[in-house]
């Protein structure tokens, strides 16, 4: 009898699981499946496609031909890309430093609850609600030498005698673009920092004050160290955004004057849509992606 039961039990176990979906493991997989499919289709598949594209000569219409690693080797021959790397890094450093400083300044200004503070917080954040391409167009219109209102105003109050070439010289084009980016993003970053500032317990400040700490000491010894995780978040957002800069240069400066404001993504765009070299553009994208992943991993580790 025992033997029979045992046999039957073994037989049941050795059969292919008739109701495998009843096991907890299988159910777990099933629950995760919809998300997995979405992640696969929307995130992983495009990445795989871009990597596959970068290994092929990819015409606009018609079938691709495998040509690896040509698309990667010719990146090195592209002087525009080399210049774009240098320029984008320069832009990233300048933007990140200035944007962080301005955003932190604004956050400190509107940190405490006072009558009317809501107005200032809203006013600082408002540019963040403008689309970036629209903001670039707005600046283009305002600073345009032919019809922009800024030049006549500056001349009227005697600050300048001739129209300023806002996007006419490499340095001014960079300066104007950074101004645009700060105007557009300072309020948004201020908001991030503000949440960080308000998470610092007031007791810490009170204790510091009762110990006789001055304003400067409080800022450097309490506010900044406790704000570190929030600053890290802002830094990562700013660095990533700046390295992927496109709209501001595409709409505002058009890469000019004389290719002085060509960002890395603009080179990708040019290769894909002006030179119809989709494989080459994909290769640059993959390199850019790898660099970004590496940089962000480094930043996260250092700033944690």
């Amino acid at each position: 009898m025992t033997l029979t039961i045992d046999r039957a039990g073994r037989a049941a176990r050795s059969r292919p699981p008739a109701r495998w979906w009843r096991s907890r493991k299988a159910q777990g997989w099933l629950y995760a499946a919809p998300t997995a499919v979405i992640v696969g289709v929307l995130f992983v598949a495009p990445l795989v496609l871009v990597v596959w594209m970068s290994l092929n000569r990819w015409p606009l219409l018609g079938s691709a031909t495998f040509n690896a690693p040509d698309n990667y080797t010719k990146i090195l021959d592209n002087p525009l890309f080399a210049d774009a790397v240098v320029f984008t890094l320069k832009y990233t450093v300048l933007t990140t430093v200035l944007l962080s400083a301005v955003a932190l300044g604004l956050a400190l200004l509107v940190q405490d609850r006072r009558p009317g503070i809501g107005f200032f917080r809203t006013a600082f954040f408002l540019p963040g609600a403008v689309g970036f391409a629209a903001a670039a167009l707005l600046f283009y219109g305002m600073l345009n030498n032919d019809f922009g209102p800024i030049d006549p105003m500056l001349q009227a109050i005697g600050l300048t005698r001739e129209p300023v070439k806002w996007i006419g010289t490499p340095n001014m084009a960079l300066f104007s673009t950074i101004t645009l980016v700060i105007w557009r993003f300072a309020g948004f970053n201020m908001l991030i920092l503000l949440t960080g500032l308000q998470a610092i317990p007031t007791e810490v400040y009170e204790a510091a004050r009762s110990d006789g700490a001055g304003r400067r000491q409080i800022f450097t010894r309490i506010t900044l160290p406790l704000l570190r995780p929030t600053l890290a978040l802002m830094l990562i957002l700013s660095v990533t955004g700046s390295l992927l800069a496109f709209d501001q240069f595409f709409v505002f400066t058009n890469g000019g004057p004389d290719n002085s404001t060509v960002s890395m993504v603009m080179v990708v765009y040019r290769d894909a849509f002006f030179r119809f070299d989709l494989g080459g553009a994909a290769a640059i994208s993959v390199v850019l992606l790898a660099a970004l992943v590496g940089l962000n991993a480094f930043l996260m580790r250092r700033l944690r």
């Binding site: 919809p34 606009l60 219409l61 030498n145 058009n254 004057p257 849509f273 002006f274």
Partner: protein, 422 residues
């Protein structure tokens, strides 16, 4: 219940995925049209007016309809490329004629050789446009609009500056003298300027400067469009004359920054003495403005023009090839050419209709029509990425030549050649 939910959601996602990945079907086919068909058409802003007039007239008089989308000129090439990559090309699209060889070689246009062969006026279609639309003996496009570069001068400003308002420049040197005279006499207020050009716009340079080189009997590229000859004396002399005009501040202070979209906007306001302009702008000038038109000349004479404009073809992914062709063949027919194009002072796509009841009314139109045979449409497979793209090598070259350091020109010219061969 939970299991069922999971199953349903999984099925839903799979169905969605299948739909998203599904192929839009094979392109290029012909659909038997049961009723009126609406076809889509794209055109670039530079020749928007002509396309709009044609589409409006066609829609008024035909059952089939055309839905026109106008795209900013600078963004046109990227939009076409993106649409082609997604197999979503419009049924019909016009393109700057110089980009056509690139498009045909990429297979973006449907082969219409047999359909063109059946047209009674097939040999009278604008030859330069037809040449650029032919690849390996097969034909892909029809001429859509012709846009020639010519010199416009403002007779009122000439009179005020003490110049003969009826005598436009006959050489590039005369052009420079007259522009300088307008600048010196009338430029004090900072509004009126001798001349103007798109100094930060690659396409503007080739359209307005190259005819002076051709007029001098020289070339800018070899016939295959694979070698730049822009470092030869003829081109350098043209650059030198324009450079002097800029240095004398006769070109307006913003010429150096002008990226293209607004370069033709100053002349109609009466602010410019004399400048090269697209012939299509003649029909858009203020009615009361007294304007002279003359061919572009070389430094010491001759005359030529850049025969630009658009060609039009059927997108190779279309499902409405017959309806698309019905529209295209109508646009080059007698009625559309005379009653829509000629009536509005536009250059015609057909040489046999050059003299018509409207052209005789305006000697300027007759002059522009007569230039079609003398001008050129340069051929290069890599034209767009070399000459039109703001990040291309030509714009750097031209800007160094006019505003910067001429010592850099030999090296930059080599880069133009390299780009032409890529």
């Amino acid at each position: 219940m939970r299991r069922r939910l999971a199953g349903i959601s999984l099925l839903g996602v799979l169905a969605l995925t299948a739909a998203a990945c599904g192929n839009g079907g094979e392109g290029g086919g012909t659909q038997a049209a049961a009723g009126p068909v609406t076809i889509t058409m794209w055109t670039r802003a530079a020749t928007q007016t002509q396309s709009e007039r044609l589409v409006q007239e066609y829609n008024k008089t035909h059952k089939n309809q055309v839905k026109l989308t106008v795209i900013p000129t600078d963004n046109y090439q990227p939009r076409i490329a993106a649409a082609a990559g997604a197999r979503q090309l419009p049924d019909v699209f016009a393109a700057d004629v110089i980009f056509v060889p690139n498009y045909t070689s990429q297979g973006l246009f449907l082969d219409v050789t047999d359909r063109i062969a059946a047209l009674p006026f097939k040999d009278k279609l604008a030859p330069s446009h037809m040449k650029l639309g032919t690849l390996d003996g097969r034909m892909y496009t029809l001429p859509h609009t012709l846009d020639l570069s010519v010199w416009f001068w403002n007779k009122d400003l000439y009179e005020k500056a003490g110049l003969d308002p009826e005598k436009g420049p006959k050489t590039l040197k005369e052009f420079a003298q007259q522009a300088t005279a307008v600048q010196e006499k009338l430029g004090k207020d900072g509004k009126v300027h001798g001349t103007f050009f798109g100094g930060n716009c690659g396409g503007c340079y080739v359209f307005t400067f190259w005819p002076s080189v051709w007029a001098a009997g020289a070339q800018v590229m070899n016939d295959e469009g694979t070698q730049s000859l822009n470092d030869r004396p003829a081109m350098l002399e043209v650059f030198k004359i324009w450079r002097e005009l800029y240095e004398k501040k006769a070109t307006g202070p913003t010429a150096k920054e002008e990226q293209g979209p607004t370069w033709t906007g100053f002349f109609p306001k009466g602010e410019i003495g004399v400048m090269p302009m697209p012939s299509t702008t003649l029909g858009l000038m203020p009615k009361d403005m007294r304007i002279g038109v003359t061919p572009i000349a070389g430094p010491d004479g001759g005359e030529s023009t850049f025969v630009g404009g658009d060609s039009i073809g059927i997108g190779s992914t279309t499902k409405n090839a017959d309806a698309a062709w019905e529209f295209l063949s109508w646009t080059v027919g007698d009625q559309a050419q005379v009653e829509v194009m000629a009536k509005n002072k536009d250059v015609l796509a057909r040489t046999d209709l050059a003299s018509n009841k409207y052209s005789a009314e305006d000697p300027r139109v007759v002059l522009i029509n007569s230039l079609v045979g003398k001008g050129r449409t340069p051929y290069a497979l890599r034209f767009g990425q070399t000459y039109n793209d703001p990040q291309g090598p030509w714009l750097r070259y031209a800007r160094e030549a006019v505003f910067g350091d001429p010592a850099k020109l030999p090296q930059l010219n080599a880069e133009i050649t390299k780009s032409l061969q890529q």
